[in-house]
């Protein structure tokens, strides 16, 4: 397929693509828990919902303030270890959401 046909094809699909991401059908399901998607960035090393016991520190069930404060302290550690670098990637509000979500996991 050449560049032009490809562009054309993209343009033709665009309205459908937009329509399908902007669905506003009625729903009876509960909204996903706040912070879950953000916290899922922790799962690769700390297990699903922070419950792993095979690797790095278990996070599930720690108090929200404990997780929040620890992540905030990590931001200023020099030289940064890997987790210290990660902590620098989130705003205070995002860290709060992550900490709240993980603290509720049992």
């Amino acid at each position: 397929m050449n560049q032009k046909t490809m562009r054309l094809r993209v343009l033709l699909w665009l309205p459908f693509a937009l329509a399908s991401t902007c669905v506003t059908a009625q729903t009876t399901s509960a909204a996903p828990p706040a912070g879950r998607l953000l916290a899922s960035n922790c799962f690769q090393c700390h297990g699903n919902n922070g419950k792993s016991n095979i690797g790095f520190e278990r996070l599930a069930g720690s108090s929200s303030s404990e997780i929040y404060n620890e992540l905030r302290e990590m931001r200023s550690k020099v030289p940064p270890k890997m987790m210290d670098m990660h902590a620098r990637g989130y705003s205070d509000a995002q860290i709060r959401l992550i900490a709240d979500y993980l603290s509720k996991q049992r």
Binding site: R9, W13, Q26, S29, C45, G47, Y90
Partner: protein, 433 residues
């Protein structure tokens, strides 16, 4: 083979792989720790996933964990187990066996109720919303996730199967990894191992440099006087420049010879000669990693709308910009993020979350974050690391590195090496267990 036979085979392979690849971790984690599929989320839909690598396995698992039993998930995969690319360079040094890096699919089936279909996709019908398999069967979907990983260009001179059997890439872990190990074992002291690195984007940015280090370290101890010649198509080291510059100039000085900006015009497998802008280079072993493109199913089905090689996606949902209802995740998609297993796992979660929301009539999360992380062995017992956090930028509609949240280890260390093994186990648990 009928479907029942496949399930029997798949679960056998899964059990074999569990004892090998997931040693010490499956036994340690209980179902409650791993997570269970909820029953009454009120969300329903049929999702088909093509490809059971890091991205495909993770999206299948999290679609069930977050979508519940109403979201049926079918995973199409042609192999009976996944061969991890992560840590596969350690097969070259004899520190890992390839079977210790295999992960079966039985956990996904038994723990999360994912339907496994072993087979090859022959076509995607984006209008009729179905996937046809080579055996003639057809799978309808509401949402399709395509995660085939990468495919390679052919290097001039390596067109025949015989040439490809002599000059290996070993860049899709598996048989070729073990074969490359055997080629190393057959080297004599004072030999030459030459490897080529393709231009970006390619899978696992630090991976080729890591391979040069692992091979050099092994040759030093086992084939004295040997050299590793690294021929890089890129203008310089593309990842962990601090760690690898130190590795090439200090740790493996006199063994690794690094050449940036090299273009390979052809390789002659019968004389083991590389022809390049540096002239002809002869070697005892040539490990040529060709230029990458998205897996065949992406190219064949009109999804490769970025340069004809990669799938353009909206990174809020990973929905294809070429076809609605189809999502492309992992190495096959064109994003600003690296092509690697750890971040593919996170792309899969963003995609699973978005699909669950879309099936429920909601909008995707407007501000997703992903993280990339990996460890790179520099010697047999030290490693370095690299990480970056990416956040959605609504202006460019791309994932952009968060300033100050990306970088590499200050120095290689034995602690990093130990952490690498822990990270590997937990990452594979999150994706396959």
């Amino acid at each position: 083979m009928n479907r029942r036979d496949f399930f029997r085979l798949a679960s056998m392979a899964g059990i074999g792989a569990s004892t090998a690849g997931l040693t010490g971790l499956v036994n340690a984690a209980t179902p409650a720790q791993l997570g269970t599929v909820p029953t009454n989320t009120g969300i329903s839909g049929r999702v088909v996933v093509i490809g059971g690598g890091m991205a495909g396995a993770t999206v299948a698992k999290y679609l069930r964990l977050w979508g519940g039993t109403g979201v049926s998930v079918t995973l199409i995969e042609r192999e009976t187990a996944y061969n991890s690319n992560i840590l596969s360079n350690l097969v070259l040094s004899g520190q890992r066996s390839m079977t210790s890096l295999q992960f079966g699919y039985s956990n996904l089936a038994t723990r999360y109720g994912i339907r496994l279909v072993k087979g090859d996709v022959s076509a995607i019908d984006p209008v009729g919303h179905s996937v046809s398999l080579a055996d003639g069967s057809k799978l309808p979907y509401d949402r399709l996730v395509v995660a085939p990983g990468i495919d390679f260009d052919t290097i001039a001179g390596l067109e025949t199967p015989a040439a490809q059997a002599r000059v290996l890439h070993a860049w899709k872990a598996g048989t070729q990894t073990t074969q490359l190990r055997n080629q190393l074992l057959a080297m004599k002291p004072g030999g030459v191992f030459a490897m080529t690195i393709p231009a970006k984007p390619y899978r696992c940015p630090p991976g080729p440099y890591e391979r040069a280090c692992v091979v050099a370290d092994w040759l030093k101890k086992n084939r004295a006087g040997s050299k590793v010649i690294v021929l890089d198509a890129n203008p310089g080291i593309t990842a962990e420049p601090l760690a690898f510059t130190n590795a090439f100039e200090v740790v493996h000085k006199g063994v690794i010879e690094y050449h940036p900006g090299v273009s390979i015009s052809s390789i002659d497998a019968s004389t083991m000669t590389l022809n390049s802008n540096l002239g002809s280079i002869k070697a005892n072993v040539i490990n040529a990693i060709p230029a990458h493109k998205a897996g065949k199913v992406v190219i064949d089905n009109g999804l490769a709308n970025v340069g004809g090689r990669w799938a353009g996606v909206d990174v809020l949902t990973y929905q294809s910009t070429a076809a609605p209802g189809i999502h492309v995740i992992g190495d096959a998609s064109a994003t600003t993020q690296p092509k690697a297993g750890h971040i593919a796992n996170q792309e899969a979660k963003i995609c699973a979350d978005a699909i669950v929301r879309l099936l429920a009539g909601r909008s995707p999360d407007p501000s997703p974050i992903t993280n990339s992380a990996c460890y790179s062995p520099i010697t047999a017992d030290t490693a370095s690391w690299l990480t970056a956090v990416f956040a959605y930028d609504p202006v460019s509609r791309t994932m952009q590195p968060v300033p100050g949240a990306a970088g590499e280890a200050a120095a290689r260390s034995q602690d990093n090496y130990k952490e690498m093994i822990k990270w590997f186990n937990t990452l594979m648990e999150d994706s396959f267990a």
